[in-house]
Every structure is written in structure tokens, then in C-alpha cells.
């Protein structure tokens, strides 16, 4: 017995020596892996910082030459070297606003349909179909918009709008102008179709977090579907829905391809949303290749920087709201 005990002891000892040696050998790859992951995480940080810094440095000449006037002037003259970003900035905001006004109610409506009204066997196929819409590359929306939507806008929708709403005082000023099909409204419409799947997807996920007991309780006392959605689901998920909407807004603000084909690329804005306009991304996409280094390139960089800041603020707000919802759930 003593022999086996001694054997076991020495066996255990040699095993622990092997183990120590093995662990020592593995220490380097182990810390290497850890440092690699840490490094990758830092690269993500650096990327965003890099984008912000590179854009800012590139745009400094424009900001220092034009100052705050850059934001309110809509002159854009390469030969005279006078640049003002107002047309692009306002165009970006207006097209995104139109996209929101049309896309958000539709997206929410679809989400409500999918969670409350849809018969269960249809739920998955329709949900998948809507998500497929989200996956379509934006350039497809662009060429579809210019070849299919624009002629329809020119021939039917815009004349209709001009003749009906165009005569209404006040709002009518928004719907003036020759119907050409190209314009801020058409671009906003294409953007709306682009972002509605995002709104639907996030809203649906958010609606699903509502505890069924709450809904069942409401149904149980005789509430209609509309009342359940309006009084239970939406108030419960309000913050999450807004977060999803702002995420979609962030997407709409930065879109290039869907917009540049149909917006008309005019360097001035008019009051009418049926008129041509431009957005920051469309302007950069069209003119960056020709911009001579100097004020022209710097002004485009400045526009890019402004776009970056706007989307950063919107996305940060969206994330904060969605995080609040995560905490709740």
C-alpha cells in the first residue's frame, strides 16, 4: 500500500510537472490571443476616430474660409470658388423627412399586422418577404426608381398633386412646378420604400417583447385590437420604436445610390418638393471625382463631415433609446 501511495504521489508529482510545463508553454499563445482580440476591438475604435479625424482635417480649409456661412449659403460655384452647403444639407434633411413621413407609418402598420392581425401560417412568409426587401442593395432601388418610378411620377402622380394640393393655400407651395419626375419628392419616396423594412423589423422585435399577459388581460376585458395596440403595445415599446425609427433615419440620411438617380442634382433648393434638389451624398458621389484639390475637395469633405456628425447624433440617440428598452426587458 505504501508502495502504491508513493507511486501515486510521484505519478501525481510528474503529472503536475508536465502540467506546469504545458501551461508555461501555452502562456504565450494565450496572451497573444487575448492581445489580438483587444487589438481588434481597439481597431474598431480607431476606425471611427480615423474617419472623423480624416474628414475634419480634409474639411478644415473649407470651414476656415467660409465659416458658419457654409451652412446657410446655397451658392455652389467651382469656377468662382464659392461653396455653400445649404442646398445639400437641406436636401438631405428634407428627403429623409419625406422618407420618414411615408415609411414609418407603413413600417409600423406592417409590424402591427405581423404581430396582431396576421394569420399564423402567413406570419413567417410575409415576415421573410419584408426582410428580403431590407436586403436589396440600394443601387437596385436607384435604377428601379429612375426607370420605373420616375416616368410614373412625371406622367401621373406629379400632375395630380400639382392640380389638387398645389392649389391649396400654404401647403400648395410645396407642390408647385413643372412635373418632370426628378425631384426631392421622388427621392424621398424611393427612400421610404428602402427604410420601411428596417422600421418593420425593429418594431416587430420590439413589439414581441410585450408580455402576452398584458395583451391578454386587455383582450380579456373586451378591448379591440386597435385599443390593445394603442394603449398597451405602443406605450410599452414607445422608446424602442422611436429607437428603431431613428435607426432607419440614420440609414436614410446616408443613402447615396437610391437618391442620386432621381433627385435631379440641382444646386439650389426651392420651396416645392416636386422640384429638383440634391443631398450631401449625391453631391459627393457626383462631384468628388472632378473636384480639384483645394477648396472644392475641401468643401465636399466638409459636407461629408457634416453628414457624419448628423448621422452620428441620430444613431447615438437611437442606440441610447434601444439600450433603455434592453434594460427594461
Amino acid at each position: 500500500m505504501t508502495a502504491t501511495a508513493i507511486d501515486t504521489l510521484s505519478g501525481a508529482q510528474s503529472a503536475s510537472i508536465d502540467r506546469a510545463a504545458a501551461l508555461k508553454r501555452l502562456r504565450l499563445p494565450d496572451s497573444l490571443f487575448r492581445n489580438l482580440t483587444l487589438f481588434s476591438a481597439l481597431v474598431v475604435l480607431l476606425l471611427l476616430a480615423g474617419v472623423a479625424v480624416a474628414l475634419f482635417i480634409g474639411s478644415w480649409p473649407a470651414f476656415s474660409t467660409f465659416g458658419l456661412n457654409f451652412f446657410i449659403s446655397d451658392r455652389w460655384s467651382p469656377p468662382k470658388q464659392i461653396f455653400g452647403g445649404e442646398a445639400a444639407i437641406v436636401g438631405t434633411l428634407i428627403t429623409s423627412a419625406i422618407a420618414m413621413v411615408i415609411g414609418v407609418p407603413v413600417g409600423l402598420g406592417i409590424a402591427v399586422f405581423l404581430t396582431e392581425l396576421c394569420p399564423t401560417p402567413l406570419r413567417r412568409p410575409i415576415g421573410i418577404a419584408i426582410e428580403l426587401l431590407a436586403g436589396i442593395p440600394s443601387i437596385i432601388y436607384g435604377i428601379w426608381g429612375v426607370y420605373y418610378l420616375r416616368p410614373v411620377m412625371q406622367a401621373y402622380i406629379q400632375p395630380f398633386l400639382i392640380n389638387t394640393i398645389g392649389d391649396v393655400p400654404l401647403i400648395g407651395a410645396l407642390f408647385q412646378g413643372p412635373p418632370l419626375g426628378y425631384g426631392v419628392f421622388t427621392a424621398g419616396l424611393v427612400l421610404a420604400v428602402m427604410i420601411l423594412p428596417f422600421v418593420t423589423a425593429i418594431s416587430r422585435d420590439v413589439f414581441d417583447t410585450v408580455p402576452s399577459v398584458l395583451k391578454e388581460a386587455a383582450y380579456g376585458v373586451g378591448a379591440t385590437t386597435f385599443e390593445v395596440v394603442g394603449n398597451i403595445v405602443i406605450p410599452y415599446t414607445r422608446v424602442g420604436v422611436i429607437g428603431g425609427v431613428m435607426l432607419a433615419l440614420g440609414r436614410a440620411l446616408g443613402e447615396t445610390m437610391a437618391v442620386t438617380f432621381v433627385i435631379g442634382n440641382a444646386s439650389h433648393i426651392s420651396a416645392s418638393i416636386l422640384a429638383q434638389g440634391t443631398t450631401i451624398s449625391a453631391m459627393i458621389a457626383n462631384q468628388f471625382a472632378d473636384a480639384d484639390p483645394g477648396l472644392f475637395t475641401s468643401s465636399l469633405m466638409a459636407l461629408g463631415f457634416i453628414l457624419f456628425i448628423i448621422t452620428f447624433i441620430v444613431l447615438a440617440a437611437a442606440r441610447w433609446m434601444l439600450a433603455e428598452l434592453e434594460l427594461k426587458a
Partner: protein
Amino acid sequence: MFLRSLISAAIGATLVASTVTIASAGDISGAGATFPFPIYAKWADAYKNATGNGLNYQSIGSGAGIKQIEAKTVTFGATDAPLTPEQLDKAGLAQWPMVMGGIVPVLNLEGVKAGDVVIDGPTLAKIYLGTITKWNDPALKALNSKVNLPDLAIAVIHRADGSGTTFNFTNYLDKVSPDWKAKVGEATSVEWPTGIGAKGNDGVANNVATTKGAIGYVEYAYAKQNKLTYADMINQAGKTVAPTIEAFQAAAANADWSKAPGFYLILSDQPGENSWPMTAATFILMYKKPVDITQSNEALQFFAYCYDKGADQATALDYIPMPANVVDMVKKMWASDIIQK
């Protein structure tokens, strides 16, 4: 797993494609004007068949072409807006005209065929200034008594990118309309008072073809190849001319290249009974001290081929090849100014 299949798909595709001609070191890279792109493409094809060397020409507009050659990202830049001798010296670039062509107004009106409508310079300027907004405007009606111009809004199409075609177009408008000169001026990229911006000669042609009531300006080959409805114009001599190769040649005959340092010459609004008012030459820019001498020589060989053997293809597309004396001047300039060894 998926990565592996992606990589093997890529390798497979590359193997398949190796049976296709692969871009070789002899390939030339150029970028710039959309104005001459149809003829450059034809020439490149012929050159490739003859020598096996290909040309990667990115038709991104004169403004971008100038920018790319200045950034040294391509072997040659192509532009219809020539650089002035001062600009050439500053950048160390050599410039020469490759071919000439005409810019024509194109329009989209139902029932109107090519050559039916007549426009003159001042009216064209007013349309682009936005003071004439409908097709049945009295000014247009006065020029076109035989055509039934409809009560339709004019969709003005212009360039959204930096364009040598725009430069020549606005240069012409400057000459015929003091109003235009005061308000807008001439450049590759101007502050357009009105209208829709399209990218490239091709983009303008596309927009005009698909938009009712549109008017635009394109290089003639684009109008011809796409059967667009062009308009006749009234030239400096007061005569109505159609955009034909004879009209372009009549305008080009006035050009005296020997008196133009750096070959800087604008052919708009030329005198002569048969001259087309918006004729233009298109230029090539290359470095006198090239970054890559082999590439540079390759490009020069290509251009020599185009001069020597490309005349027929040019005239088939209604471009005008450079006259022989100009070709001699250019070749002499290559030998003296561009380092080839």
C-alpha cells in the same frame, strides 16, 4: 466552410477567366472626357486586335480626367476643356488635340424628328437661364413656324459632373449671350440656374431620351448612336445648319493650330456660312517627365496608331480627325517635349 467555398469559387473563376485575355502589363490606363469616349473605345478595340495591348479608359468626365492625371493615378488624362499654357507649365503636362466633334442640342418632343426644330444661341441661353420655360414660348415659336410646339414645360438637362462638354457649351453661350456671361460664365462645372443634372454625356443622352419635354447638350456621336432628336442651329453667319460632318469640318477649317501655344484653341461660334456653332476639339494630357516611361511610351504608340490608322473610324462616327499638318506638329512635340527614354 463558407469561406473555403468562396475562395475556391474565386480560384475557379480566375482559372476560367484565364482562357479569356487577361490584362497584361502592356495595358494603358486613361481617364476623362465622355465626349470622345465612343471613338476612343473603337480605337482601343482596333489597337488591341492589332497589338494585343488594351486600354482601360474610364469615362468619368473632363474634370475628373484632369484631376486624375494631376494626381498621377493614370497614364493619360482626356479633356475637352484644354488647360492654358500657364496651367500646363505649372503641372509639367503636355497637351495635344486628338479629334474634333460637334456638340448638339437634343430634345424629346412627341412627333418631332431630328432636324425639325431650329434653335439659336441666345434662345438656347435663355432656356438654360430659366427665362424660357415652355416649349410654346414666343421666342421658340418665332424660330419654328412649321413645327407645332406644345404647351409643355421644358425639362432642362445639364451635366452634374465636371465636363469639358459643359466648358465648350458654356463658352459658346458666353459668346452669344451677355446675360449668360454675367450670370453664369464658362467652366467645366457651373452654377446652373435651372435644370436637372446628369452624369456624363451618356447620362444626359439617357435623361433626354426618357424624359418628355427634355432638352440637353451632347456630343454628336451620342445623338447619332442613340437616334436622339437633335436640333438644327443658327450660326454666326445667320444661316441654319444641321449637325453634319461637313458643318463640323467647316468650323474646324478656321482653326489655326500653329498659332496656339499648348494647342489651346476653342472652336465654338466659328465664322463661316456652313460652320456648326458648337464644334469642339478634345485633348490628351500626359506628363513631359512621365512617372512610368514604359507606360507613357505605350500610350504614345497608341495615339500614333489612332492618328495614322484611325481616321476612317472617326469619320464613321462623325468625329473629325486632326488634319495632317497638326498631326505632324503633335508628333514633333512628342519627340521634343516628352521624355521617352
